[in-house]
Symmetry: C2
Subunit: 416 residues, 2 copies
């Protein structure tokens, strides 16, 4: 019989106290050891992964999802490289962020410390298992992982190799634990274990995220949903605007920072839109437009209220002609998911207004929304993009997996 | 008929967009205007407050709670002074926290911005209404307030004066709204309004906080519950230890940073404890002890498992003799609420071990736990003490009522 979630969470919490004060050198040793283990046991990992692939094929999984599930030699190599890259990043733990000596002589320091136990609930791709281990352990956290049932054998073998590396390096193997993925009740129970779990991070589709947010009693960091807009202002450089829209829509349409709605200033719509939409259509993009867009270009279905709210993650673009920057900002704030928003403009006042008034994690002037990414922002690696406002907003790197502690050094002070 | 919560929240959200970009000068003007209004309408405020006091007396409210409910002249004066002090604090909004120019030329800046709409759910003391308005508006947030039904008339008149000052200064009066306090359903609905409310902060007792944490779909900042410990190490200066324990227990027993459990190293327990406990008893403190404590001092009831978990907020102290620092740290991490913890020691290694291994917002060496406070930490004012690890930990000042936004300035960059 396997242990229950609460026992597992309690042991993980215990291990978190060990991890909180481990040296960077020791944590990096573990990451490098795990990288070696993945390469060494490549055949075993591929064999377990084939069990998942076989079952998924039998159940009729789509080819695109099967591809995400597969652990090829190059993907195993990429996981190992990822671990080595994270080992090279600076350790955020122990940083003294600020401090002061108070008039009464108390020396106050605000120090960066690990969160403790981080639970990560994720879907399909088994390489998220190793990504999470890399970032979680480097930032001094113990981990409770819950992957999808379609990747059960792949995740198990990856966690076996992780626990082996933990033991090899003198860490408690309970520092990383994998929950059973068959049971929905276990996730529900996990989300109530406030004494043992400090933070929950869901990584996956909108349905998963919504379910975690609505059911968790533990603080959640929301990641991912990106209903991103590009607003082409009346003063925009048309060539630049076209390049940016095409890049943000088609360079990788399945990701959260791809553009889903194009807003165009009515001043230029009749001249700018027809050729752009023609180009997009040729590149396989389906257009859904507002009434005005449909007057300008033939054969475009009417965008519904729902379209303005939708993150397509596909070669579909909603297009709306707006009366100017004010309407554009209102549309973005009303329908957007506060992820990544861009304006294309040559007008200084419009650029500044958009940057200040749009409520999103990342706001761009004259650049593609596709740049919202830990690597592109220079963080080295990321645990998703936070679209909430508490704790972390935008790409979450190692630092976003930490909290702070006030260490106060006294000489007998009491409060009068 | 009064409007429903959702409409009120939507209007508050709309006002938050105005507030996000208001100048510090303008916000300070409002705070000073409100301070003047409170002084000017003192009689009206006291009259409304007397309606609450009268009803509370009729319903048999305890004298200590009646005292908390009262708005005397000096308390109204204190609210006005508080507003003027917050007007003098630096504005956290607009601070550029960090930034860089990426190799592709993108100029990335991480800028401090308001959270948006902050909902505050609080109990008894009506001055929390004005404290919340001061900190909330200064940090550029719109507010949804929900006070207790016992303070309904006091809160209403304070919000009337707030809305009047908002209008006088050209702010939308919808920037601050008071929910009806009679309806429990309204709070439940509020906690689901993720599109309009960015953060919920419960300020009050453990029951209120638990209910909000368990029911909210909106991110919560937990404040307040403090089951704080003092560990007197074998090497402690006894005189210092006695002063610190007495201060932390009796200087103000009803607050979250008061000491609830004393842990004493067995090395010194038999000589140190009897005289300290005798002094505490003389000062009216009820002692509950472990078996060993009861062997040392007569007439002490046995502390139960529940005592170790309890935040008394009263002149009661649980006392336990422990086998050394390891057991002390384990006890604190297991039973504590991760608020404020102190060690009294002359041993350098013990001091460092306690600071590093205790998992709490504030950890002290040789000082009273009573210092965990925005004012004492030099923040100027506070919206409670966060005991969670996300976003804010420890005293929450103006900065903790903000989030960040990445503003990215491009020149046509697209992602390859």
């Amino acid at each position: 019989m396997r242990e229950n979630v609460k026992d597992m969470a309690r042991k993980t919490k215990q291990a978190s106290y060990f991890l909180a004060n481990v040296s960077s050198f020791h944590k990096n040793q573990f990451l490098l050891q795990l990288a070696d283990n993945l390469e060494r046991y490549e055949e075993e990992i591929k064999k377990e992964n084939r069990r998942d692939l076989g079952r998924a094929k039998d159940m009729g999984m789509q080819p695109s999802l099967l591809d995400r599930l597969e652990l090829s030699s190059s993907r195993i190599q990429a996981m190992a490289s990822g671990l080595r890259e994270v080992a090279n990043l600076p350790d955020p733990v122990g940083e003294v962020i600020e401090g002061c000596k108070r008039p009464n002589g108390l020396l106050i320091t605000k120090v960066r410390v690990p969160l403790g136990v981080v639970a990560i609930i994720y879907e399909a791709r088994p390489n998220v298992t190793i990504d999470s281990v890399a970032l979680g352990i480097k930032s001094g956290n113990a981990l409770l992982l819950r992957g999808s049932s379609s990747a059960v054998h792949s995740n198990r073998v990856l966690i076996d190799k992780t626990k082996q590396a933990l033991s090899q390096c003198g860490f408690p193997p309970e520092a990383v634990n994998l929950l059973r993925c068959e049971s929905h009740e276990e996730v529900q129970e996990l989300l109530t274990l406030r004494d043992y779990v400090d933070v929950v991070i869901p990584r996956g589709g909108a349905g998963l995220i919504k379910s975690v947010v609505e059911n968790s009693q533990i603080p959640v960091i929301e990641t991912g949903v990106g209903n991103c807009h590009i607003y082409v202002d009346g003063s925009a450089d048309w060539e630049m605007a076209e390049k940016i829209v095409i890049n943000a829509k088609i360079q990788r349409p399945s990701v959260c920072n791809a553009c889903e709605t194009l807003l165009v200033d009515e001043e230029i719509a009749s001249q700018f839109l027809p050729s752009l939409l023609c180009t997009l259509k040729k590149k396989g993009v389906e257009i859904r437009g507002c009434e005005k867009t449909r007057e300008l270009v033939e054969d475009i279905p009417l965008a519904t209220e729902e379209d303005w709210y939708t993150e397509y993650l596909d070669l579909i673009l909603a297009v709306k002609v707006v009366g100017g920057i004010e309407e554009a900002i209102n549309h973005v704030n009303q329908y957007g998911s506060h992820h990544s928003e861009a304006i294309v403009t040559q007008n200084y006042a419009a650029a500044r207004k958009f940057l200040e008034e749009v409520d999103a994690a990342a706001v761009y002037v004259n650049a593609s929304t596709r740049f919202t990414d830990g690597g592109e922002f220079g963080m080295g690696a990321e645990m998703g993009i936070s679209t909430q406002k508490l704790h972390a907003r935008g790409p979450m790197g190692l630092r976003e997996l930490t909290t702070v502690k006030y260490m106060v050094w006294g000489t007998g002070q009491i409060r009068e």
